[in-house]
Amino acid sequence: MSTSALLMLVVTEVTVTAFTLYFFWKVLTVPPKAEPDSFEDNDDVER
């Protein structure tokens, strides 16, 4: 691959992947809100 193509690919894909993982990680780790919330699956979980 040419240097310019490789640079564009790496910069773009690293940026997009980093943002995707960051927001996904935030979703997984942020504490859920107090009940009643919008989601049914955790309705019986006591907090």
């Binding site: 690919l9 935030k26 809100k33």
Partner: protein, 501 residues
């Protein structure tokens, strides 16, 4: 006042996967790489990501916020969401676009989706083995020309599947389908991307390494970023890829309670779509096609900017070069991937239409789902029978009405409802700090951006309207006008009922 929801999402992850699934579509794998090849290679990413930041992210925030705000008053479709935010009567009728677009796009999108099912079946059965590229192309042309009843069978099957899933509701239908479909899509995407990039010249008939295709796609031609057409194409791609201007994001978000987050959800779903499009979408069709056909031929084949030809006519032939087993596995993965990209999108088109009937005419979910399925079948008949009608639907609904709706919603949100109230809606309950710059971008930059895109496309709209048309095109246009009028009539009737109550 908060009205109890008739339905709820099962989990936050389910909501995000459903929202990301509604955005990820066939275009992520077919249209994006073709657009990149045709619009400056790696340099295309500059206008593309600029449009994502200045138009995509702001509209995601706006649509999620509008949806959650509408949900507070028990509305799950845009006519009365718009009505709640703008008191003038015409806002409700501009909100009609949020149902009209979904119904009309679903009419031809479900047909496209059914092609992927059919091609997966033919790949698994080995029907493309031993065929020349011309024979595979002839198969495609015969298929869309209805040479056999098979396209209709797969189309009906696809409609039934969509309707059945919709009839099972949000948690047991849409969310479950997304929880199954999205991980499979990612798995198939990663496997095919690795295969595409590691394609080696001289093995299985490949002429070039897959990296040659990747190099061609990412090699930047920086002169292209001064071309307004490239910017228009980048803006169009952002619209398509994020499912903006349709009303389906508002519908899904309307099931989120007012204290719960929308900002992080919007970002997570939006960036997930970008990952699928930019990282996976760029590594499949172009590297594989260039590996066998060379750069010049692929540039020629992507000239329309859609990548459909490569996806449906060329890849099955190229997979067949990998031997019976690998060919079947790759074919099922590729068309399975397209199917799993397509079905959450068509499900997202159904929910606002169903929500409108359920909220305003007290219909049950099952009745609303089957009526939607029947309406999509009726509207889809012209698209199945005529490629010209298909093209008309795609142009007026899948291109123009998205932009009109987006202009209307951002003006309503930022200027009529008011940016101060709007900003509170976006940031209320947010699990991330939303950069304050977006407050100004939403108010000034995005509307201007959208207006420039729309004004820039006016000459093309005028040329389309004034060129001679065939009876099929006329019929498609009349059908679309009739559909818009019929939905407006329903909004009028629902509004009258509300006033009477």
């Amino acid at each position: 006042m908060s009205i109890k929801q008739k339905e709820n999402w099962g989990s936050r992850m389910g909501l995000i996967l459903a929202m990301a699934g509604s955005a990820v579509g066939l275009g992520n794998f077919l249209r994006f790489p073709a657009q990149a090849v045709q619009n400056g290679g790696g340099a295309f990413i500059i206008p593309y990501l600029t449009c994502f930041v200045l138009m995509g992210i702001p509209l995601l925030y706006v649509e999620w916020a509008m949806g959650r705000y509408g949900g507070k008053s028990g509305q799950h479709s845009t006519p009365f969401m718009f009505g709640a935010m703008g008191k003038r009567f015409y806002w409700k009728y501009l909100g009609v676009f949020g149902i009209f677009t979904n119904l009309a796009v679903a009419a031809y999108y479900c047909y496209l989706e059914s092609w992927t099912l059919s091609w997966a079946y033919h790949s698994a059965a080995g029907h493309f083995l031993g065929k020349t590229q011309a024979e595979v192309s002839a198969f495609f042309n015969s298929y869309i020309g209805l040479g056999t009843p098979e396209p209709v069978v797969f189309w009906i099957l696809c409609l039934l599947l969509n309707t059945w899933i919709l009839s099972r509701g949000l948690k047991g239908g849409v969310e479950l389908a997304s929880k199954i479909g999205m991980p499979l899509l990612l798995l198939f995407g990663v496997v095919l991307a690795v295969r595409g990039v590691t394609l080696t010249a001289g093995v299985n008939g490949a002429v070039y390494d897959g990296v040659v295709g990747l190099n061609h796609l990412w090699k930047p031609d920086f002169s292209s970023i001064w071309d307004p057409v490239v910017w228009r194409n980048a803006a169009g791609q952002i619209f398509f890829t994020l499912s903006l201007g349709m009303g389906s994001i508002q519908c899904y978000a309307s099931y989120v309670r007012s204290k719960d987050d929308i900002a992080l959800n919007a970002m997570s779903a939006g960036w997930m779509n970008e990952f699928v499009e930019v990282v996976l979408g760029s590594a499949i069709i172009i590297p594989i096609a260039v590996g066998y056909l060379g750069v010049d031929k692929v540039v020629e084949m992507t000239k329309g900017g859609s990548g459909f030809g490569i996806g449906f006519m060329t890849l099955p032939y190229l997979f067949a070069q990998w031997g019976p087993v690998l060919s079947a596995v790759s074919g099922v993965m590729w068309f399975g991937l397209l199917f799993f990209a397509g079905i959450p999108s068509s499900l997202a088109m159904g929910t606002p239409c169903m929500g409108f009937m359920e909220d305003n005419f007290r219909w049950g979910r099952t009745r609303a789902a089957w009526t939607f399925g029947f309406a999509v079948m009726l509207l889809g008949i012209p698209c199945v029978l005529s490629q010209e009608a298909f093209g008309e639907f795609d142009y007026w609904v899948g291109t123009i009405s998205l932009v009109i709706f987006a202009i209307a919603e951002i003006i309503l949100f930022a200027w009529v409802f008011g940016m101060e109230k709007g900003w509170k809606e976006i940031t209320h309950g947010a699990d991330i700090a939303v950069p304050v710059a977006f407050k100004h971008i939403i108010k000034y930059v995005t509307p201007l951006f959208l207006l420039v895109v729309f004004i820039g496309s006016l000459p093309e709209i005028w040329a389309t309207l004034t060129k001679p048309i065939t009876p099929q095109v006329l019929m498609a246009r009349l059908l679309l006008l009739g559909l818009f009028a019929a939905i407006s009539g329903l909004v009028y009737a629902a509004n009258k009922k509300k006033v009477a109550i």
